[in-house]
Subunit: 381 residues, 2 copies
């Protein structure tokens, strides 16, 4: 019986994690959740699982919950999320970090600091704080496992293999909502069309990140940290059906691939059960779907955000914070209909061009830069 | 530096093994070879590699070689192949068994008897003698490694995985020379068209076995022994491009696949270097070839030999010898243009119907049945 804490339980990954817990009540026990934006679902979860701890956005939410369940421990705000990740440090609990954005970095570090295993769906943890996570893991007995189709695929394919025999990792990309549009057609695309992902339903932020392809850049950076390989060994390829989730090419020329229906419950399940494999509730693939798959090289001119991500990784240090902060706030402005779609990439580019890099930024420097950029850009629109 | 003995050095697998040895002279040293049908190539090999031992068909060949190289040890005939496999039993030598037919079984057993690793391309070893090999391996420190695209694929995909989490192995089948013909069109197909495999050039026997699909039945039986799984967990699927060499489906619904150009030098190389992966001389895959792959369920009525193979495995014991002996002699008769293509499956079916099964046949019983069937059928035509 694994004890579980979920950061971001009311989001897409969080809810799917709950489905897995529901399907396997003898294997997992949910101890606590965090949730910021969906109070009614949060209360429902707290009651259903009789939780010991919850982390919420503000005292209004906290009061509501306290009224219904006076015995539960409630944490509040961003500091609450960090304390949540460190709840009962002596206990053997697995933390699932399904937060979206920079807010996910400190809780991951806290969990690693107390030797707690982390199943990571939060991309910013590694994109922005990869260097800090790497240092923290060296001093910890924690394992950091990815929750993500692409990294789960690579993780599975590297089982029993020697990293030194890996020639390339090839991450597949669906191409996002606008994959059938030329760059010239992107000028006036609407928020609604951007949110209409051809292959699956996810949160708004990641759906927009998928349309700009910065998401694939984030995944390349994550892969570099997760599998400890140089960025020149990690590539992306367009694969519109999203059935092959990644490839590994070995030195001898052999290529392996992981294939499954696009159902996030499989990578979540895999990470939760690792190193065991057990029957899952994820949809099973019909082999006949493998007829007529498509693969295409990615045109970096069509998707400049992908180049920016790779460039930010290579420049390193605080440039990754800039990449992420500019993107995070630009996506927010786009969702609030204050800017156009192509303004996202323009804002990222401009921020990166004007940044003075700090080579090995501390956690506090990262948060200062992040907050400065977000506030400044947000106030411009 | 691994010392190598090759059984069947002048055949397709043998020659490709020599290419790998040539490309990696610091890693492999060829000690000896066997060859029955191509004396000039055999002599060329013996001189080029300055071999200590050779195994040949008859004394005429032996004399020819002795004239050129008086110091070499020469073995003769079927007994020669067995003694060859056991050459210098105290020495750490790897045996590559690339023989075609029943003649390969006893040499494999001899090598296992002296704890020698065997890289196995000879299908009959496991199809006919699987139960004996399994017993022999229990008492030996030998490893038995497959040389075959499909089994190499599965072997690679099972690296680091727990066998108990495997739901199915799915072996791909090109469909052979007549894959585009309906059964009604097979009545009068010529030997020449049967030998014209759409995807690659192999020996005649295996090309015909591929056209009847009995080859895929053999591979299913081999997989059962190699990976120690029930036959109900091993399936075949039509995949005409032969780029995905096999799939593994796990209990959680995750599927992995191994992909490469169809170049036998990769599985040979993999087995020779295992557990290391090193740059190989095999052709590298162009990823764009993955566009437009095809997969189709196999129609057992279209390929009855596949059913016979599975049935023979399930009945077990000496029935597998009957399956193989009837097929081996029928293919020979077809190659000698004494019977028609569809007579192959008819002969196998008739032999299986009339056989009294011995549940756990000894090696001698296997050879007696094999020889009785082959002689009797051959004399009928």
């Amino acid at each position: 019986m694994k004890k579980i804490l979920i950061l971001g339980a009311t989001g897409s990954i969080g809810r799917q994690t709950l489905e897995i817990i529901d399907a396997n009540p003898l294997d997992f026990k949910l101890i606590g959740v965090s949730g910021f934006n969906n109070t009614s679902l949060l209360i429902e979860i707290i009651q259903k699982y009789e939780l010991s701890i919850a982390s919420v956005k503000d005292s209004i939410q906290a009061e509501k919950i306290k009224k219904i369940n006076p015995n539960i421990k409630i944490l509040i705000g961003e500091q609450g999320l960090i304390d949540f990740a460190g709840f009962n440090p002596e206990e053997d609990i697995t933390l699932i970090n399904a937060l979206v954005g920079m807010v996910g970095l400190k809780p991951t570090l806290r969990a690693i600091g107390i030797n707690r295993n982390v199943l990571l769906a939060n991309k910013e943890t590694l994109v922005v704080g990869g260097h800090l996570i790497k240092e923290a893991l060296k001093k910890s007995s924690s394992n950091l496992y990815p929750i993500d189709s692409e990294h789960s695929a690579i993780w599975q394919l590297l089982n029993g293999e020697n990293k030194s025999s890996v020639k390339r990792l090839i991450i597949t990309a669906s191409g996002g909502s606008f994959r059938d549009k030329a760059r010239t057609e992107l000028e006036d695309v609407s928020l609604e069309s951007a949110l209409n992902h051809p292959n699956w339903s996810m949160g708004s932020k990641i759906t927009i990140d998928s349309a700009t392809m910065i998401n694939k850049g984030f995944e390349i950076i994550e892969a570099v940290y997760l599998f400890d390989l140089g960025i020149d060994k990690v590539e992306a390829i367009l694969h519109q059906e999203s059935l092959i989730h990644s490839f590994v090419e070995f030195e001898d020329g052999s290529i392996t691939a992981q294939i499954a229906e696009h159902d996030m419950r499989l990578p979540i399940h895999y990470a939760m059960y690792y190193p065991e494999r057990k029957e899952s509730i994820a949809y099973k693939l019909d082999f006949m779907k493998l007829n007529n798959l498509h693969f295409k090289k990615i045109d970096f001119n069509r998707y400049p955000c992908l180049s920016y991500a790779i460039e930010a990784y290579k420049i390193g240090g605080s440039m990754r914070t800039v990449l992420n902060a500019a993107n995070e706030i630009a996506v927010r402005l786009f969702i609030e209909k204050k800017i156009k779609f192509l303004d996202i990439e323009r804002i990222i580019k401009e921020e990166m061009e004007h940044h003075q890099v700090i080579t090995f930024p501390s956690l506090e420097e990262i948060y200062t830069i992040d907050s400065e950029i977000k506030t400044r850009i947000y106030n411009q629109y």
